[in-house]
């Protein structure tokens, strides 16, 4: 079994009209045993920047701690929040530093950049960035998520429709993946507010 499949995860981010959504499953497993059903995979860096980390849980938490540290230092020096594009480059650089002994994670970054323009990107475990205009997926359920998102996505959805779409895509994909599950965590971010919702799916 691959190290990326040790804990199980499902992550997706989608772009809407002046808003974005980022969602994950809630299961933490050790191979086939479920250890936690409320595991946090999405972290807020600042009000308009969210980071999701799929893959090995331990590396996800460590990387998150390091990134919070770097961002706080940036805030002290620059007296402002980091732009999502800059943050993505930071994550990419940190991952590539460990090129020959990598963090076993696949990050998904979502934020509102200049003029509140939605920005999403994902990268592989050594920092190769993939910028997308529509959606990005990561984790053990990624193939299912690709299929579901590709069929359900349409551009310029408002935040309510975006919530419905990302939730349906996430729940359908998780239900077909043994290593992801126990519901979902969805964050909808607009220029004015952040909404966090928990989804109920098959609790297995």
């Amino acid at each position: 079994m691959s190290i990326f499949e040790y804990n199980g995860s499902a992550l997706v981010a989608m772009v809407g009209k002046n808003c974005f959504a980022i969602a994950s499953d809630r299961r933490l497993g050790v191979q086939l045993q479920t250890i936690a059903t409320d595991f946090q995979r999405i972290f807020k860096i600042h009000d308009k920047l969210f980071l999701g980390l799929s893959g090995l849980g331990s590396d996800a938490q460590t990387l998150h701690q390091r990134l919070v540290f770097r961002h706080k230092l940036y805030q002290l020096r620059e007296e402002r929040d980091m732009k999502p594009e800059t943050f993505a480059s930071l994550v990419s650089a940190m991952l590539y530093e460990k090129r020959f002994g990598p963090y076993f994670v696949q990050p998904v970054i979502a934020g509102l950049g200049e003029d509140d323009k939605p920005f999403i990107c994902t990268m592989d475990s050594i920092g190769a960035k993939e910028l997308a205009k529509d959606f990005v997926v990561a984790g053990t359920a990624s193939e299912s998520l690709y299929g579901a998102c590709e069929s359900m996505f349409k551009p310029d959805m408002d935040h309510e429709e975006l919530f419905e779409t990302i939730s349906q895509a996430l729940v359908s994909s998780i239900d077909r993946d043994c290593l992801s599950g126990w519901g979902g965590h969805v964050y909808i971010v607009t220029p004015t507010e952040v909404t966090e919702r928990i989804l109920k799916g098959r609790m297995d």
Binding site: E143, S144, L145, G147, A148, E150, S172, S173
Partner: protein, 223 residues
């Protein structure tokens, strides 16, 4: 101490995706027409669907040489059945025959991932889904092949028929109309084509109902 392994395999994977959906009085069977090997395309218009009986159509992805052999075996067994019983095989009967034929080669399997679609003796749609060695189940819908993992969650969500994952098991057919089901199949293949390199070129769709059989072809991305 390690065993020496063969550097030649009798199998190859020609890729492709097959889908079937059962309705109250119809059945839709679809497969893309791309045949590949490795990263190359062998042909863009190869049919993966075979008519086994008047009301049984089989779509198979995997190793097409094994699929062709399997289709031949089943067709000839059906011909013998027709001589002996003076009638066509029903879809559930063909389903059992396919299972037995696959298990017969349990220790050198047909590398074929099959979906059997048709109408049962009551005229209701039926879909049977198989693994390579003959384990099968009657379901309301199924996808097999390289694009299966992309399509199945979407079908779970859209068909509004009881998911095969639910317990207790419920009667399988979708409440969707025939036209809606055909449209859904086209959407599935368009999405799978975007993200799966082995799926594309065009999709062949067979629609079976009380009036007979009809075929549609829809073009897909060729990259």
């Amino acid at each position: 101490m390690t065993k020496e392994h063969a550097n030649w395999s009798p199998y190859d994977n020609n890729g492709g995706t097959c889908v079937a959906i059962a309705g109250a009085d119809y059945c839709v069977i679809a497969a893309d027409t791309r045949m590949s090997t490795g990263y190359s395309i062998l042909t863009r218009d190869y049919s993966k669907i075979c008519k086994l009986a008047d009301k049984s159509y089989m779509a198979s992805s995997g190793f097409q040489a094994d699929v062709k052999a399997l289709q031949k075996v089943l067709s000839s067994r059906h011909l013998i059945y027709q001589h002996q019983h003076n009638k066509q095989m029903s879809c559930p009967a063909m389903a059992q025959l396919l299972s037995n034929t696959l298990y017969y080669k349990r220790f050198f399997p047909y590398y074929a991932f099959n979906v059997l679609g048709g109408l049962d003796s009551e005229g209701k749609g039926c879909v049977f889904t198989y693994d390579a060695v003959g384990s099968y189940e009657r379901v309301g819908y199924s996808a097999q092949g390289s694009g299966a993992t992309l399509i199945t969650p979407f079908l779970d969500n859209q068909l509004k028929s009881p998911s095969p994952l639910l317990l207790p098991a419920k009667d399988a057919v979708t409440p969707l109309s025939e036209a809606e089901a055909v449209d859904l199949v086209k959407t599935c293949f368009a999405s799978a084509t975007e993200r799966d390199i082995y799926t594309g070129d065009s999709v062949e769709i067979i629609i079976l109902n009380a009036k007979g059989v009809r075929s549609e072809t829809e073009q897909l991305r060729k990259d």
